[in-house]
Subunit: 337 residues, 4 copies
């Protein structure tokens, strides 16, 4: 870590920072220039909090040398992680396709949609039983009943199922039914929840928080990994910006950036990013072209009647046709669907 | 709710939207103009999700007429809410002053700091026992031990204590010690946690999420209120923007905006907004001048040794002097400290 | 335009807004509901400024029904615009490829790079003679000398040339040499400059401003079109967000959104969006997959010695190889390079 | 400047960066650590462009040690700049009050408003003759006629006048009438315009760009100062964020931050920041409390009929009353109105 002091920093200021650095087990290297004094902290930087210096009146700037995450970094593991669930893979040449309704709304709809997306090429079935809703008055999901329908659809289609976990108290329940556990954008920094799924032996989809930096996203992955669970699938779903023409701004750059920093697979959720049916395909194609390892797409047999997120859901027919076109894009960049 | 259709919308498109509106118990009023067809949904708009229309290819725009929150709105209750805890008030003419360290680090430091801030004019003592930290490797708080020290400091100082709750599983534990429960910025949309504190008969500080709109913030307050707990204190603590000169951008406008929309008291946390000691006082003064009902300020006897957020903490002396100056600002806008 | 009044709006409030609407030549339609009064302004909404109502204490919300732009809208002209310059096209099935150095640095480098990009498949040559630089102490471009080298490179390669105009006083000079005039991101709302290029009979590349909404971008295009020049090429180059891992956030969604709202061609500039060499190809591929009509890519024979923007520039070899791979992506979405 | 290389950087990579540094007249200091090689560039850092390194594949991070601006920095000049125009001051203990209509709409209104604001305590009269409007179809200002009315109002009231300059071709015209020249937010990075006003001997108000960082804002001030004109008044007017409850987010923190970095006076424009009449006073009070050197407030005798920005304008009565209240806030922080 490099700490640049303001002009006029006194010897005592320098000594105090030096002591803090030593107190954390690192060595301080002082370099007094004509205009500024610069302190280098040498040793395991992960023990130092840049905030512990940045707010001090005498400190002008702090530069971290090493990334604050380790286990999930590309330096820690060179080759990309491939996660296998009941024979389906995330990572590697073939793209993973998570498809299904936003919410599980009933037994029949889950099975019907499941069969349709399976035959279109989906490799995982998704559906929410616990739904994070902005309004306390909105449909909150079917809970355990929904999980059961999801599991039944898995049995019928052979597709492993992914569903969201919102509360550590539901962990056992959700883990009993789900093959893949999803942590939603709003819970990306629910550190207690991350710690809990870190103790499981089950893949976790970690959605990027609505205003999370790429570094914070990887730090949340590190929370999971630090508990022992390395089966983490990152999912880009758009970030909050000033632009209102789309619900969120799909940050397609995050895909190549994350893949250079981390060995974890990254998938994209064009449905939530855009919030509009018509944008799902162009964003899905863009994600694949940029190197995504898969997609998560909302599919509903009657989008206009969906209990949540209807208008960003594709009908099964539209999904099937889209996959046909996306296959060509995937092949153009050396991947398969 | 007003739904504007794209040019070229067919009769069938109109009928379909009409049916959805009726299905939710509202009436649809169709107005066909030269250039656009506009549908008004008349009735209790809170049953309608704008997203349920916005993503449809045929829909151009949706305008909500009524705010999606009700119980926390100024229309629902004209006069401002005043919350009283052990004789200390939040709301009303006198400003509420929450002060104390970021983390509870030990028994002595809590009591010492507590006594210092009490004599400087603080009305509540704050301190974290469970800390949300970006890194899994950082100090996570003392847990129950910290809560005990906090309670002891209350007994010594007479100040009610406020502390953060991160996990619904800790609810009973935290509620046993704390007089006021804080929901942190990262948990503003942890809806399960909101639901749980909504069942308590204890004041809740609801910090604004890092990228939450004012409307989302009030919807999260509505979650708490809808469970029966109306003792909600909103806390502005800065939002995430492109500017990097400050840790967050303190959105001082949110104070008068929230006070016009809601009857709930609003306090400001200049320490987290700025991330820098030198900015705490100007932001605190700005918040008071803009109409805040109180402040939450981090105070530490040795900021350079604090286990978290040291550099944005004030020393007790500096805090005392600042309060002296802020008292004048408060009086200038008809308030007292 | 629909104007929603706050609860408690008086008859006089309503009358006053009605008069303003009538004063602009529109008709007001008043609808008094149980909870809110809503005023519809019927007629040519482009005469009304939503801001003229939005800030009034009695107004809660304003919804524009029609887009504020007309000439550049897809409703005004259904088929996409195709612009032809010396036989090269922008719009249509074949992608337009603008390539060349950020700044024109000399005669030889322009000709060399020009020949290399021409043989790799570029259809336009780019190079800046007037450079907008954040620092007054940085290289500001060669001025007219640079324009001459650019023109010479056009003569050698047969590629039409594009260059930036920053100042209305340089208009004649720049127009004398350039085949396509570029308006940079920082000048997207330099309305006097837009008005001037609107009077030319020459294609204009209009880069999106760093924090411009899609609507503002199209309004700036409308400025040009309203003066008579319809040959406008929109260029997405990334927007400013909180994310610091990339220089800007490349808003890939803007491509399909703009193409649905406007008949103008849209190209993408992955070099400026990313600010990093390694991200140019994934972003270029994403843009093509999302429907862009072309690319603008910085190419330099010695990026490490470039006088500006070196590190985001590709070497000619790398450019040639990238184009080979992008050709496949273009074909996958029914386009050609 | 400190340049951190990625793991795996080769000797050749290091040499190449070393050469670039030497080529700019600085010295390179190489430090090879266990995990990273770090290069320090020692000498006048203003000759180095961080972008020249940041995009290189081998570079991980770049840290500038010194601010890129010099003449406007607090280090260059310790004491705050005070600008005097016809006996009125900006900077120093007394606050500067710029008041008047958004646009000059006629002779009588200018004089009337001028007299009202003068008697309320304004020290400068503002009014736009050239208006930057998002739509080409909106009122663009009265041009020279407006400047004349403004000058007449100055003669009647004795208040120096401030007005916006949008185009270098209008410089002589505007300078003939105006005492203070305003550069609007949209032109903050119109570098040619900055260079031109830098050659004048007249104060310049430099508004912060809608998405400008504080550093970019100060760099634009440096453009003006580097041409010889040091009479620069910075004006915070809100930045663009995701929040839509206000037109812009008033960045009150920028006031103390700029005052610590620069010796230039900083005023605040609460009218544009908020876009709403009801927010003008709380934001004005917040700005004063945070240390602003003055305000710019829109005042109109008939806001509902204003040709631009009516709803954020105060009536003269309201302005007078507000100033009375703000005087107390100013005194509370040791300033006067």
């Amino acid at each position: 870590m490099i700490i640049v002091l303001r002009a006029g920093a006194t010897d005592q200021d320098v000594r105090q920072i030096e002591e803090t650095i030593k107190g954390k087990g690192l060595t301080a290297h002082i370099s007094r220039g004509v205009e500024r004094t610069i302190i280098g902290a040498i040793g395991d930087e992960r023990n130092l909090d840049p905030d512990a210096f940045e707010g001090l009146p005498v400190v002008e700037k702090v530069l971290r040398i090493l990334a604050p995450f380790k286990l999930v970094s590309r330096e820690f593991q060179k080759e990309g992680t491939v996660i296998t669930v009941n024979g389906k893979r995330v990572g590697g040449k073939a793209l993973a396709l998570f498809a299904g309704p936003c919410s599980v709304e009933g037994r029949d709809m889950m099975t019907q949609i499941g069969e349709r997306v399976a035959s279109a090429g989906a490799t995982f079935l998704r559906g929410g039983a616990f739904k994070p809703r902005t309004s306390p008055y909105a449909f909150q999901g079917l809970g355990e009943e929904g999980l059961k329908y999801l599991a039944e659809a898995r049995d019928r289609t052979g597709l492993p199922v992914a569903t969201e976990l919102m509360d550590p108290r539901d962990l056992d329940l959700v883990a009993r039914y789900a093959d893949v556990i999803q942590i939603g954008a709003r819970n990306m920094q629910n550190f207690r929840l991350l710690t809990e799924v870190g103790k499981l032996d089950k893949p976790v989809i970690l959605k990027r928080g609505m205003s999370a930096t790429i570094q914070e996203w990887l730090m949340s992955a590190e929370y999971i990994a630090s508990e022992g669970n390395q089966k983490i699938i990152l999912c880009e779903r758009g970030i909050r910006t000033y632009e209102t023409a789309t619900r969120n701004t799909f940050d397609v750059s995050s895909i190549p950036v994350v893949k250079s920093l981390s060995h974890l697979p990254v998938i994209a959720d064009p449905s939530h990013a855009a919030g509009k049916m018509a944008l799902v395909e162009p964003l899905a194609a863009a994600a694949i072209a940029a190197g995504a390892d898969g997609l998560m797409v909302e599919v509903h047999h009657q989008p206009e009647k969906a209990l949540s997120d209807g208008p960003q859901s594709l009908r099964p027919d539209a999904f099937t046709q889209m996959i046909g076109r996306l296959r060509k894009v995937a092949e153009a960049v050396g991947r398969t669907i």
